[in-house]
Symmetry: C2
Subunit: 334 residues, 2 copies
DNA sequence: CTGAAAGCGCTTACAG
DNA sequence: CTGAAAGCGCTTACAG
């Protein structure tokens, strides 16, 4: 199986490589007969252009990198897939890079910038912190999705996200309204301005609005995996066994907590109510069906691609879009 | 933030581009002082080579594509991650391509072959069928993992997999031994020689060994998603309500079935036993904890990389490795 | 509508 | 140990 080059095709079709290149790139300025002849030869040879060679000539169309941090995260996975879907009718080409949750997305971005001459970024599942400043010199369109970049101080950064603070507040409010007072919150470090920290602030808002104050000893820093959440919950409930409700900042964490509760003989929701976050498919099929704050995947994706192409193709300045999340009350909250 | 090329570095360091290239590729034949000077300049400029330009010179090291079919599949995801882990100390470089479950992995392979001049493949989650013959002319190392390529008729194909037929048999046997006779099997098309079809043959083996025969009307072709399995199970149990046990060919399918059962008022495992396949993390935390056939991810991954590098670096002929799966009896089977 | 030629950034024989 | 030069496969002004 010989690998044909544009030169081989040109020779077989009796035209110049320039013409083959034109056909390859769907340029209009090619005679119909010539085009068809070249296309026939390309088809017969199963010709596919060499991406390296093409990439080397930078002046081609835009190349956008989608960097997904959290490969095992079902929510981000689904979101990335949806973004890719919306990407189909863009002029730019996209490459997707899945990195580990613990990896550094900004380092990855820098590498892609050099290695592949990328000229646009979509960050899926990034937490924007001081590391982001490695990108501050960059004058490329970049869109953060699921996290607001409003406070990031990156001049060319746009973002699409839900109102995490309001949604954190809503989750806590749901529990407070149902009479819960001993409420635990399972999240991560709450000192930044990332989406998880905002949800935590929302929790405090809810308590304040109810004339109460959140008991910080019921805040649990956990890893965002089933195993991590399970272990954290076992340890937490051994000490704070009087807790009657949990707000977990992801559905995965919520499910780990549910399993732990059931293993220590506490029923969900009869003994302990649990509300998650994200609105994953699994949550709908878990027993009990998970109450959650559902992020609008479809809209996050379409807005993200829209904001990016506006910046890339029309030079529109970056903007920060807020989309609506939805409370889904299912079986796990009483 | 200027993007430096090898030429810029050469100029700044006062050497030729050849020398910079040598340093870049860790060639031994560079004077230590020269090397250090060049390295200093590269570091100062945050220099990263242009992958396109490098890729264009094919004679570089090997490039292996890992093609993962089934992006949303947690088992394949975990397996791909483990493979990537084992890949770290290989001389070759690897690129990972996640494609949809419905996409054609062989088309993808062909594209990568041309576009990127790949010279080795790892197929994760492929089903080998007639489409595979598009690769039959290819004299490149390719390793199929989770599915045996023994019967595929591809001369350069190796494979690493469990004994799917034996494991299908074991799953059915577990249910038969516990007195179940009205057993449903949730799988896919069972006419090929892919791993799912083999598991089906294993089921028949188990029935035959017990002096019984499998009731084909209890074979359910389902999509391998929570939603698909749920819908299939609702439809199936509306007709075959006397079924007392289910063998689902993936944990995801098993969980969809469990949820459906609970929604029609059948308890798992008291009324219906369910056994899954793969051994996903979620299965351990589901309620009820899922009984399953656990695939040895770690060993599948290490063997896959080993077989590939043996072929690639040492010219060893392709081989077909069988690894051991493990029965995990948990709560969902009575 | 078509082609000859330069050049993208790198690697690699080939000389020295 | 080091460098000048050719070439990887493609794209794109520039001519015609």
């Amino acid at each position: 199986m010989k690998i044909y080059t544009i030169k081989d095709i040109a020779q077989k079709a009796g035209v110049s490589v320039t013409t083959v290149s034109r056909v390859l790139n769907h340029r209009p300025d090619v005679n119909r007969e010539t085009r068809e002849k070249v296309e026939r030869v390309m088809a017969a040879c199963h010709f596919v252009g060499n991406a390296n060679a093409r990439g080397l000539k930078q002046t081609e169309g835009d190349l956008v990198a989608i960097i997904v941090r959290g490969h095992q995260n079902p929510f981000l996975n689904a979101l990335a897939e949806s973004i890719l879907q919306h990407t189909k009718d863009c002029r730019a080409t996209f490459l997707t890079e899945f990195i580990d949750e613990k990896a550094d997305e900004f380092q990855t971005a820098l590498r892609l910038l050099h290695e592949r001459r990328v000229n646009g970024f979509i960050f899926v599942g990034s937490r924007i912190d001081q590391r982001a400043h490695e990108l501050s010199g960059l004058d490329l369109p970049m869109v953060f999705t699921t996290v607001s970049a409003q406070q990031a101080g990156l001049p060319s950064a746009a973002s699409v996200a839900i109102d995490d603070r309001a949604m954190g507040r809503l989750a806590a409010q749901v529990l407070l309204e149902r009479g819960h007072r001993k409420i635990a919150v399972f999240g991560a470090s709450r000192t930044g301005s990332d989406s998880l920290s905002l949800r935590y602030l929302g929790v405090r808002d809810a308590f304040t609005a109810a004339g109460l104050s959140f008991d910080e000893s019921r805040y649990v820093e956990t890893r965002f995996s089933l195993r991590g959440a399970y272990d954290s919950a076992r340890a937490f409930f051994a000490v704070k066994g009087d807790t009657t409700a949990v707000f977990a900042m992801s559905d995965t964490v919520a499910m780990g907590v549910c399993r732990a509760l059931s293993d220590i003989g506490r029923r969900v929701p009869e003994d302990v109510s649990v509300i998650g976050f994200d609105g994953t498919e699994m949550g709908k099929y878990y027993t009990p069906r998970l109450s959650t704050i559902e992020q609008p995947i479809e809209e996050l994706a379409s807005q993200t691609v829209l904001v990016l192409t506006d910046m890339l193709e029309h030079g529109v300045p970056p903007r920060h879009v807020t989309v609506e999340a939805t409370l889904r009350l299912r079986e796990s909250v009483l």
